[in-house]
Amino acid sequence: MAGVWIIAEQRDGEFRKITYEVASAAKKVADELGTEVTAVVLGSGMQDACAELGKYGVAKVLYVDGDAFATYTTDAYTNAAGALIKDGAPDVVLFGASTQGKDLGGRLAARLDTGIAVDCTALAVADGKLKATRPIYAGKVYADVIINGTPQIASLRPNVFDVVEAGGEAAVEAASADAGEIKAAVAEVQAAEEGKIDLTEATVIVSGGRGMKEADNFKLLEELAGKLNAAVGASRSAVDAGWRHHTDQVGQTGKVVTPNLYIACGISGAIQHLAGMGSSKVIVAINKDADAPIHTKADYCVVADLFDVVPELTKEV
């Protein structure tokens, strides 16, 4: 069968945006290799949704239906996807570097005894092989890596690859694969705060640093974020000061983010922070210190007090 395979990501029976990003990137790779894209969908009651993947370049869907696949578990996904991949022997396997994909990647690569490039931001084909680009040291360096072994596995950073509509309907084939023993089971699922957007998926991030002075002042950023449908991030110093939860931290020991727009408020720009947000598409720095390193990374520098400018900006957007 060979070709380029993707492993779709779904939650509650709906594909997540990363699935379309991966399908679109896979289509490009498949075109260069002169082959087609096959999607592995593990889910429950998703037959009708599967054909939709054709819109993003998927020629064929191998759909495995079962209660054990409704919610992601490392074991069910490794067992089922691993068996299908061994059987179908694709050349390339791609999926998202979401928390799910990052959890699955190492396990699957070990199961298949092959190589994996995690969190890639670009893909190319050279001499009939996949060459992947991935930021390391939180983006201080970009590595071009060749993945040896078969299949070549790569996970793709969310919000980097464009969703491209092409083609029509995918041919959906019911596939059979066993979920096997679930060694680590999901005991409980707690929803996050309503309306809270995850940093790694956000297209706009408004972030605050030491210049925010206290926890309460993050209200200003929450208000701006509300208008922009943005997530609120924080620098390490704001997290260490206890103003924000550690899950909001952007940087080398926090989240590495790639939004379309990153607005840094009262952030001086420590090297670890710059590394974590440096691949944002557009960066705005609002900091009254004209010499703050953050201004050297920004596309738009506002040298002014954030407490004066942010409320005005909230009115303008």
């Binding site: 928390t99 990647g105 939180a138 005991a187 090297i271």
Partner: protein, 256 residues
């Protein structure tokens, strides 16, 4: 409880990373090496569990001779003994290959729990813990911010996009630690003195019967893509600055 913590030695996060002359590796000349920050959470959690339930903590690290410093740091924090898989070429090697070696070193230690940091802040792969779990046939609980142990089972809290899930598995299990799990302690001076006398075993990949494989081959390292110089937003008043910025973001950058 018999607990193994795998640690990696990485450049301090303040390090400026320079690409070496070969274009394929980094210049390690000026680098200050530290224990991977996420691994500290693993060491701390292991020490807390052993204090509570009794047992022993063994730290395992792979890489060149200098990795001993990171292992000594963990011993100074309170770990009981260390195993060093010494191989000068292992830094920057394929993570699956490293995982194979770690699994071979861990297996004879018969752990109830194997801790890792959720990723290393140098190669940012985060695949070694789950690959080791696979090689050892253990369940994995990745990126965990809370660990609860009872009746031979472990529950781990894992934040994912828009949700938090609680995973449950029987021991032995592999757990990768995320920031928030605990506040790692510093190595005390008496701890540092004691660490010098604690057992540290050195093994080579050959001793473990592990051969290096190169599933991931670096073709080139490049500096991050250059950004065009930024534009200073003009305006006399905060209102003007905000209006001009909003206009630029809408009309020029087209991001809002």
């Amino acid at each position: 409880m018999n607990i193994v913590v795998c640690i990696k030695q990485v450049p301090d996060t303040e390090s400026v990373i320079k690409i070496a002359g070969d274009g394929m590796s980094i210049d390690t000349g000026d680098i200050k090496w530290v224990m991977n920050p996420y691994d500290e959470f693993g060491v701390e959690e292991a020490l807390r569990i052993v204090k509570d339930q009794g047992g022993e903590v063994t730290v395992v690290g792979a890489g060149p001779a200098r990795v001993v410093e990171a292992l000594r740091t963990a011993l100074a924090m309170g770990a009981d003994k260390a195993v060093h898989i010494q191989d000068d070429d292992l830094y920057g090697a394929d993570p699956i290959a490293v995982a194979k070696m770690l699994a071979k070193a861990i297996e004879p230690l018969n752990p109830d729990i194997v801790f890792f940091g959720q990723r290393a802040v140098d190669d940012d792969s985060g695949v070694v813990s789950s690959a080791v779990a696979e090689f050892l046939g253990m369940p994995q609980l990745s990126v965990i911010t809370k660990v609860e142990l009872a009746d031979g089972k472990v529950k781990g809290t894992r934040p994912i996009e828009g949700q938090t899930v609680v995973l449950e598995a029987s021991l032995p299990a592999v757990i990768s630690a995320q920031k928030g799990l605990n506040e790692p302690r510093y190595a005390s001076l008496p701890g540092i003195m004691k660490a010098k006398k604690k057992p540290l075993e050195t093994k080579t990949p050959a001793d473990l019967g592990a051969e290096r494989s190169d599933f991931i081959e670096i073709a080139a390292l490049n500096p991050p893509p250059e950004r065009a110089p930024g534009k200073t937003v003009e305006g006399e008043t905060p209102g003007e600055l905000a209006a001009n910025l909003a206009k630029l973001l809408k009309e020029e950058a087209k991001v809002i």
